[in-house]
Symmetry: C2
Subunit: 565 residues, 2 copies
């Protein structure tokens, strides 16, 4: 319709599309083909990001500490400071605070120009934002480390390139879902006599309205970028509501977005940060506004279900808690299986929505390449494998990171009373951060009758070895607990193709993604953008998959015009 320009552009908006077109087309092809692909290297190597990148990133992060974050947003009525690093250092970054009225009004005002910019310009702007975020991956790594508690390398990868991948994936889906359909057509219907009936038609992809993304403490960027970029590319202005303990990664993100929008002469208020005061419940206030028509949420089941029930005006996507499952039936790589599981349980102290919680094991034990192992032996060997992985403090902290918040600590303490403790959680001293709170995982043994315990989520480094009658019983428990409470991941170990098939069928019925016989450098709690789905949308843990057609299709509508040719 119109150009969408509202300010003085220093870059032609279409220029960003031209610049990134090839990347976008490769991204679309990857979503179709689901092969390995990424434009954002995950290695924090100087060879990839440049010799000075690491030092510059650290300096940029340190430059934020104790200062007001430079974010020029409308309606700011206060500056607020809400973060504290799980590694013990003081952040003291101040953010502008605005109320729901001011945020919604600014976003609404930005909508027409962003809508009218068209999908190509919007995709170009999104890719430029992601490109600049990629160049700031070291700064982002420190910001993610000191808000989530992730170890540095993980914070770099999951908070930087892998989050950018997930953002780009969402842009690719949204772009494809709009650009695949003709924008205009000369429609000609043959008539029995004479000339065909001819109409000229135009099709406008119009956004639903103002979008809200409610972010979490543990993956402030990775879990936010899919909703943020899916809403943006489909034409919706976005209000980003960070978790009060993890604001900085999203303040950087919003600042980069506003910078690119302004350069393109578009309204910077297309992306807004909604930093909130403690106990303000700004997310609930925003999510129930009639103008807010899209909500993406990652966090607790309680608030996720509240949003699903109380924001009927919005297209609501939630990622909540679940009970992730591992079925151990048999293996011909016993040592590698234990090593793989030990790493999955330890990575980021189990503070991933994808960390396995319930490891189902036949009471009679399992057959392995090292002979038959009793259930007790498997439990003991798994505990030993975790102990071996985390034996060295430096290596341990590189895997574990720090405990993000007191709720996790409390659950670790409670776990000891829930069954037979196969592995105790211990404190680890961090070599660099004296005040960091670092804990190793605990593993608790339970009988299959204790569904009251393993049937609900215990978020953190807490897992259960559940002894069952047999593998069929294990699979039934997987289906039932996931139908009831959901899961983001499932995993199976077996040397029997019939068991692997039965597990895949159970996964289809439970609606959960499943990995089989992971022994190498692929872990059930990690998923690769463009190829692996994160969640399915088919069980109570999440209404959305990152990313599939349903995740983007609900964010826009087609409006058509026609006239005689």
């Amino acid at each position: 319709m119109e150009s969408g320009l509202v300010g003085q552009a220093t870059t032609e908006p279409a220029e960003f599309f031209t610049r990134h077109r090839q990347t976008l087309e490769q991204a679309v092809a990857a979503t179709h083909g689901r092969h390995f692909w990424t434009p954002y290297p995950e290695s924090p190597s100087p060879k990839v990001y440049g010799e000075d990148a690491a030092a510059a990133g650290l300096a940029a992060f340190e430059g934020h500490l104790g200062t007001d974050f430079p974010l020029d947003q409308p309606g700011a009525d206060d500056r607020i400071v809400t973060e504290r690093s799980p590694y013990g250092i003081a952040l003291g970054v101040g953010y502008p605070h605005a109320g729901a009225d001011a945020l919604v009004a600014a976003a609404r005002a930005a909508l027409p120009s962003w809508r009218d910019a068209g999908v190509r310009t919007r995709a170009g702007v999104c890719l430029e934002i992601l490109h600049r975020l990629n160049r700031r991956s070291f700064e982002m790594a420190h910001a993610v480390q000191h808000t989530s508690g992730q170890a540095f390398v993980m914070a770099f990868q999951a908070g930087g390139p892998q989050a950018q991948d997930r953002g780009l994936e969402a842009v690719a889906y949204g772009y494809d879902m709009i650009a695949r359909y003709a924008e205009s057509v000369r429609w000609e219907k043959p008539q029995r006599k004479g000339e065909p009936l001819a109409m000229d038609k135009r099709f406008h992809a119009v956004p639903r309205g103002v979008a809200l993304v409610i972010a979490c403490n543990t993956f402030p960027t990775w879990n936010t970028y899919p909703g943020l970029f899916a809403s943006l590319v489909t034409g919706n202005p976005v209000i980003v509501k960070p978790h009060p303990r993890a604001v900085l990664p999203l303040a950087i993100t919003v600042a980069v977005a506003r910078e690119v929008l302004a350069e393109a002469g578009l309204d910077p208020d297309t992306v807004l940060l909604a930093a909130e005061r403690p106990e303000e419940r700004l997310a609930a206030a925003l999510a129930t506004r009639p103008e807010v028509r899209i909500v993406d949420f990652t966090g607790s089941t309680e608030f996720g279900e509240w949003l699903e029930a109380n924001a009927p005006q919005a297209f609501v996507n939630t990622e909540k808690a679940g009970v992730n499952a591992v079925v151990v039936d048999s293996t011909d790589h016993y040592g590698q299986m234990l090593g793989n599981l030990a790493f999955s349980l330890s990575l980021y102290s189990g503070q991933m929505c994808t960390t396995p919680q319930n490891i189902y094991l036949p009471r009679a034990g399992i057959d392995t390449d090292e002979g038959h192992k009793s259930a007790d032996q498997v439990g003991a060997d798994l505990a030993a494998a975790v102990g071996k992985l985390l034996g060295d403090a430096a290596r341990a902290t590189g895997v574990l990171g720090a405990i993000a918040n007191d709720g996790v600590l409390r659950r670790i303490d409670e776990a000891a009373g829930l069954g037979d403790v196969l592995l105790e959680s211990t404190e680890v001293a961090h070599p660099d951060f004296a005040e960091a709170v670092v804990r190793t995982p605990t593993i608790v043994g339970l009988g299959a009758e204790r569904r009251d315990v393993f049937g609900r989520e215990h978020f953190g480094p807490i897992s259960f070895v559940v002894t069952t009658d047999d593998t069929e019983h294990s699979l039934r428990l997987v289906r039932e607990t996931i139908a009831e409470r959901g899961a983001l991941t499932a995993s199976v170990y077996s040397t029997d193709e019939a068991v692997l098939d039965a597990a895949e069928r159970a996964a289809c019925e439970a609606g959960v993604n499943i990995s089989a016989n992971l022994t190498g450098q692929v872990f059930v709690n990690q998923s690769a953008a463009f190829s692996d789905y994160h969640g399915t949308g088919a069980n109570p843990a999440a209404t959305a998959s990152l990313t599939d057609p349903a995740f983007v299709a609900g964010r826009f509508n087609f409006v058509q015009s026609r006239r005689h040719a």
Copy 2:
């Protein structure tokens, strides 16, 4: 996964896909290109459908009268008769009745085999069903005529080929949305040293669950086929709940579907008819079952809103009431404009969800190719155009059809008291059916202050000429009434490109499809599958568009498995 076969196949399921593959691929291309295309000719000509088709169709229809419809469904506890032709003839067709428990149990049992059949087999089965329905278009035409009250030619076109088009369009979207993404992939991630990390991945499109389609009285097939076929192709068994006054068209549809399923060795209970007793409220009972995960509904705003609020477990698509708008600003084809509007108001006695209701006109009148016309003159000329169109009784009944039910009659009577009657509704004697209830449209003049009247839907042959301050005022009323009550269609007449642009912008903001300067054989109340959207999903009249990506994407999820290569 598995073959999905549950019975003795007389046709290999894959054979239907092979047979119809080219049609399917053309259909997918048409949804992308949005050009004119149809495999189902809309002309009831002997040259197209064969010399005997008309007589055979009539005989087949008459064969149903006064008999039990041959439908072998599980759980039937009764036979019920609920239909009465608006043309006065007795139908007396008996249908098997089953309760919600039996229907849901049968549909659930059919789910695994239909899911496991895979999208190609499902698409092939759907296209074979549509092909056989196409060959029964004459039988269907009589069934639609004598349940909806549509005139015969319209019942043939809208109930037959055009409904089949909409069904095929839904199949094309669903097939495309699944088949576009790789079913399996060898994923290879380069490593710094050595061989790439290689995983074999499979992706299963799994259905949401049991689907329910709640049909309406006036377009029993056209409004049902999109939801029915969108759910089927994405793997969901479907329970079809017809309106008690329009069962026969859907009984034929369900019978054809079950016949094709059985021939393919698939479970016929993948498609079930839910004929209900009067006042049974079977739709509400079914829609709130936890196993029912998709609901498609066409009907009243009241029940549509009830479904939206009370079936949170389901993906709910509703088409409800709206206030369709025509903005008259100016024209250089005055006579043709009046003729086009007169036909739109008269077609099927205004009993279309797409019939214009509110015709907004500047108080000062309009400029035309026949000179300036006062608002009063335009109203009188429109009334005269309707009168001229319907002057001959045979022609009139061919356009008007019959009044579907007493609610419409009541609203016609009430309309006379709502404002200045510009055109009175009159009774027309039908040349063939003495007891047919046939009425001409009424047109009522109102001032813009009477939003209490024109701001809500008056379903039937009732329209309002609303005089406004000017065209800007007219467009504001369009935006406001549609934001409040929704609309399926909007239309504008102007010789001024600036007004046409403003109208298109207003349509984007209101979220309604708009037609400009319709004067020939294209009417605002008609839409062409593959090219025109029916509704947008962006205003209160409908949460769905027939068909767009959002209409199909919510009906399935991807579930993934992966293992080391």
